[in-house]
Symmetry: C2
Amino acid sequence: MSNKSDAVEKYRIGIDIGGTNIKFGIIDENNKIIGKSSIKTQVLLGWEKIIENIGKGVLTLLEKNKVPLLQCKSMGVGSPGVVDHKNGVLMYSNNLKWENVLLVEELNKYITIPTKLSNDANCAALGEAVAGRARGYQDVVMITLGTGVGGGIISDKKLFEGGIGGIEIGHMVLVVDGIKCSCGRNGCFESYSSATALVREARDAAIKNPQSLMNKIVKNDTGKINGATPFEAAKRGDIAGKKVVENYIKYLGEGIIDMINIFRPEIVLLSGGVCNQGKYLTDPINEYIKRHTYAGSRIHIPSVEVATLGNDAGLIGAANL
Amino acid sequence: MSNKSDAVEKYRIGIDIGGTNIKFGIIDENNKIIGKSSIKTQVLLGWEKIIENIGKGVLTLLEKNKVPLLQCKSMGVGSPGVVDHKNGVLMYSNNLKWENVLLVEELNKYITIPTKLSNDANCAALGEAVAGRARGYQDVVMITLGTGVGGGIISDKKLFEGGIGGIEIGHMVLVVDGIKCSCGRNGCFESYSSATALVREARDAAIKNPQSLMNKIVKNDTGKINGATPFEAAKRGDIAGKKVVENYIKYLGEGIIDMINIFRPEIVLLSGGVCNQGKYLTDPINEYIKRHTYAGSRIHIPSVEVATLGNDAGLIGAANL
């Protein structure tokens, strides 16, 4: 790859583009973050200016940490949206309002080291696989439960990118003709298992069941119901809350079984705010998938666990692209 | 890999284990089959004897074609069931009644060249990618519509195996709580899109609609209805037949969209008897997936086509493992 010795090129740069903030960091050979910073995304500036700001921000960070660019082996970028990882192009991002941006080429105007681009959910999975909860595993599925449902696949210790456009596990169907999804399809995994879906179901249930504890928890302001509300109510014996949680776990369980039957991971990781429920979420899910996984009595059924790196997963993963 | 020159090791051996027959063949550098033969599977003989027969059969085939084993670079085996491709173990096959058979190790007692094992659907996909309809493509999904639904994924020109146990795309769900599947789960892709499912739906519709042409086609013996019957009736304007075909295409279309959203192939291939319908099958499916694929207006939507190698796909694919 290079004439310089590996001992000199000991750092890598990771960039995690989000709708609100853009984070960047420098990691060492042990995937430890030795320095990081961030800027506001400021969508209105447009892609040229934003990428310039990223380039300059990274150079400033390197300087501050006394890391010469010569000691950086590579750079990776995680971005939301539809990505052409083979050519370093961000094909489309609704959050950023970007379309067919030659992100790698543009970024290399400021920092000229080998650079790769991938989807943000892929980067988070890779981060957890090299430095987080899935460290040491060869085959990993990570599912991010947020506004939508994203996912990343590690196969034989390498990120599995799929073809051009990237993996969109949130848009596999769980119910043909089911709940309308933002992607235009009906019944997607995302329409049942995102945090958005959990909140929608909890609000509906609270409104339909005025006596439900969920209403008391938010002092009858159902607009304040969040993903934790039905879990909290369920723990205190509330029947409507329990039903919301059970239903959420069932559909999430079905989506996870799909991922197991398709990818056969050794471990499945979940991330996102709903994971704060810890074992109240993972115990019933592990129970559910044991009953329904294909050839479950003859193969290893992976454990479903909570990811551990939090916001740093994307940064560390991007640096490992 | 070896001290012998590549020019000398110009052949590869492929073995395709089926429930009825076991086929083996020798292919050259251009993936042309230069000789093939087969034996009956004879499940009752047990795995040791069957593998011995395979080994001896391959040696006889080599002799007959005057190919010394020294000129064979590698051997590959495609098998039904749950496969540990990393260790060459057939973990479980319902058809063969085999459980945890060290297939590669056992076969190497008779033929000692580098040997790999994979799932039969994977081998068929690989065969089509190196020598059939998907030749020249980097990212391919192939779906086999038979008694069940199987699938193989080619990513960046390489077979994607997933983790231990192998890919089972037939057992991803299309409808949570849907039609009971043979795997124990409800609503699997297989329960809607296999040839078995098509025949089941056609028979039900024929019985419910005594005036349907489907009954005339089989002279009122609904036991004779097969996958072609509803298509034939539909072509002649039969409403019940049309409904069966439209429904089949809808669910198959949904499963294919899942595969596209997850793997982003450049082309999707279908194989199995129902593919004899040609454009009567693929035209409406291509129409369907255009309407529902994620980010469909911004990414390339792959064409759905019929595989071309037929029974040789598995053999050629196995030889390319």
